[in-house]
Subunit: 413 residues, 2 copies
């Protein structure tokens, strides 16, 4: 029996128990986890320090080390997050459809857990707890495969969660960590479709592509965000500048920040002049000739730039001749995440909404709102950029599937 | 530009046009298709004969040739099916959620087409028309890859549909056929995630496994049906016999027919005796010792039998000691399709419903009801046996995704 077989078999068994777990028991497990995290803060920080030391020795950048680091405040934030998830409505058991057929069969469509969820992520230990508690609350079992850089932190956090789950009378194997972080085991995990129902990669484009290439398990792609603002010829220029500024600079590292602004030629001078005044060099611009007339640009944007998620104070700028050209550009280079048009023209707004292929399409608002909390889902496990199953922010409901329950008294065909 | 690049680019372009197509135009295209099929029946039969001749020359079995054959009656059936799909409610544009956020942003969750759907299927030309019209009605574009054995039939049918679509002012590339049926091109198709949003294999287990192994596009698995009836110790024996008989013999070749019956030891003698009386050798039985005491059995069932979809008048039989043993057997060998318990005990029924992991779980009714028409979906493109996106019969709604449309007046974060 391979290591993945062991994890998978245990997960299946835990899944069977979880399918019988009630709301009360699951919430008790979550409350236990929150309390246990708070109580173990010192130990967690100690284990996290081992990861940080190794990361420094391996030459990890300070920005990455910051993402890896757990402090008392961050641990409090984590346990607070767990309590928030506990307070959310349990999606399991919701009857989402049903009817009585002419032959007397009663058909009900009922929300049930997905089953076993595999989550592959990079070195952010907060994801370990976030992902596990969302899975738990929605009746799912998870197998977590975090980055090797965070292995001591993850072992510690998962150990704490497992103890807290067992204390609530639920199977500790509802949360498992892949402690062998070798590539071979990751490869095996992606093909373990006999145990795992869904695979969610959380991380950069490289990770997501690798999972897509190798997995035989259904995958939900999340988090790649090459987003755009299109400034229509009927735009309110002040609004366009404010939205562009917010969508680019309020938090450039996140997936719902924009990477390219497309500007209709008729308002190019006005918009570029106003944006230059607002930023005054704060954002590096890769812009075309028209843009360069009114803004300090570093160089023209290349095809590669258009396809790049900078996650930084960098923006590609393109002057377009028409709404159609903007839509085509977005559908070609975008990652189907969040797209915005600034316009006061109803027809153009409507065409943009219909033709742009993305999870969230905005008229006159910043793309930064694409977020589980902002959309009222309470929490999110990621933002799906694929069209199958769930699109956009994924909350608890998106971690479920359904089952048809049919009751009869001997009906045959 | 490779052949798949050509098809893919054309599909993307057609998809953009389809996202603007209204209900009326789509229904006109469907009406045109139905009329064109009827009008071209002779030509279709002629082209189909070429496939049949080749199939005979290649030694195809008569059962398979029957599935390949188109007659005037079958073509009428096809066009009638198209008219039924035209009459169904258009799922596109349905608002399935939404609210106004505290900051004044209006969020709407609206049903939209999936985009480009790849369908890989074997030599059943009726699937060509079925699949294409369901995609069309739901605003999707499809790329059809049928078996080489049906290539003349498929070329003819697709040509007819494309003409009918163009006549309604919609892009003929909304329906495309992969005419190069080589394995290399099929392999390329499965990896064309830059063009295709979803891949639906329709066919046997071998085809589905190959697609799962090779695709980088999200896949919806359909149609594998290793289904069970469990006869509980609290079963009404007459009802159990009738349901078993119906689920096995009414149409053994379909995916919602059963392959194994599990019988509680306390009612084994009664049930086996009654079933033997009913069938009297009509179905070949692979049964254990207990079963062999009361029924003519061919041999004991093997592990492999338990995992086999016979699609024939063959049944594996196993006597079990408990409900739990039955559930475990089903979750181990089943394909998550349709499962049935016969019992009058409420607790046992409830445990079976919760613990059996399948798209459709029946209490006291034949598994044969798992079907889009029976469930009132109007038509189906297949029965999903996976948990992501759609489970069980997939109708028009299951061929859609959603999009968040957000309207503001300058909101920023």
């Amino acid at each position: 029996m391979s290591y993945i077989d062991e994890l998978g078999t245990a997960a299946k068994k835990a899944g069977a128990a979880m399918s019988l777990a009630g709301m009360k028991q699951k919430n008790e497990a979550l409350a236990n986890i929150a309390a246990a995290l708070d109580a173990a803060a010192e130990t967690i920080i100690k284990e996290n320090k081992r990861d940080i030391e190794n990361a420094r020795a391996n030459g990890m950048s300070e920005a990455m080390i910051d993402r890896l680091t757990l402090t008392e405040a961050r641990i409090s934030g984590m346990s607070e997050g767990v309590r928030q998830v506990a307070a959310l409505k349990d999606p399991i058991g919701e009857v989402i459809g049903g009817e009585e057929l002419p032959n007397g069969l009663k058909v009900e469509k009922v929300r049930v857990p997905l089953g076993v969820i595999g989550i592959i992520f990079e070195s952010r230990p907060n994801v370990t707890v976030d992902a596990a508690v969302l899975c738990l609350k929605s009746g799912n079992v998870c197998i977590l495969r975090g980055g090797s850089d965070a292995i001591y932190s993850n072992k510690c956090l998962v150990g704490i969660m497992r103890g807290a789950i067992a204390k609530a009378g639920l199977p500790e194997d509802a949360v498992q960590l892949v402690v062998d972080t070798s590539r071979a085991v990751a490869g095996e995990l992606m093909k373990a479709d006999r145990y795992i129902d869904v695979l969610i990669p959380r991380g950069g484009g490289g990770l997501i592509r690798s999972v897509k290439q190798n997995a035989t398990i259904p995958v939900i792609q999340t988090g790649e965000g090459n987003c755009h603002v299109y400034v229509d010829r009927f735009a309110d220029i002040d609004m366009a500048v404010n939205i562009t500024d917010n969508a680019k600079t309020q938090r450039p590292s996140v997936c719902n920040a924009i990477e390219t602004v497309l500007v209709h030629k008729d308002v190019a001078e006005q918009f570029y002049t106003a944006l230059e005044k607002k930023w005054n060099g704060r954002v590096r611009i890769y812009g075309d000739e028209t843009c360069a007339k009114f803004m300090k640009t570093e160089r023209p944007a290349t095809e590669e730039d258009y396809a790049t998620e900078f996650n930084d104070y960098v923006l590609s700028v393109k002057t377009v001749n028409s709404l159609d050209e903007a839509i085509e550009h977005i559908n070609r280079y975008g990652t189907k995440h969040s797209e915005c048009i600034v316009t006061i023209n109803l027809d153009n707004a409507e065409k943009f909404r219909r033709c742009v292929d993305a999870a969230a399409v905005y008229v006159n608002a910043s793309t930064r709102f694409t977020d589980g909390f902002e959309f009222g889902l309470g929490a999110e496990i990621g933002i799906s950029t694929q069209k199958l199953h769930a699109r956009g922010p994924m909350g608890l409901r998106e971690l479920t599937t359904y089952k048809y329950l049919i009751s009869g008294n001997g009906q045959i065909r």
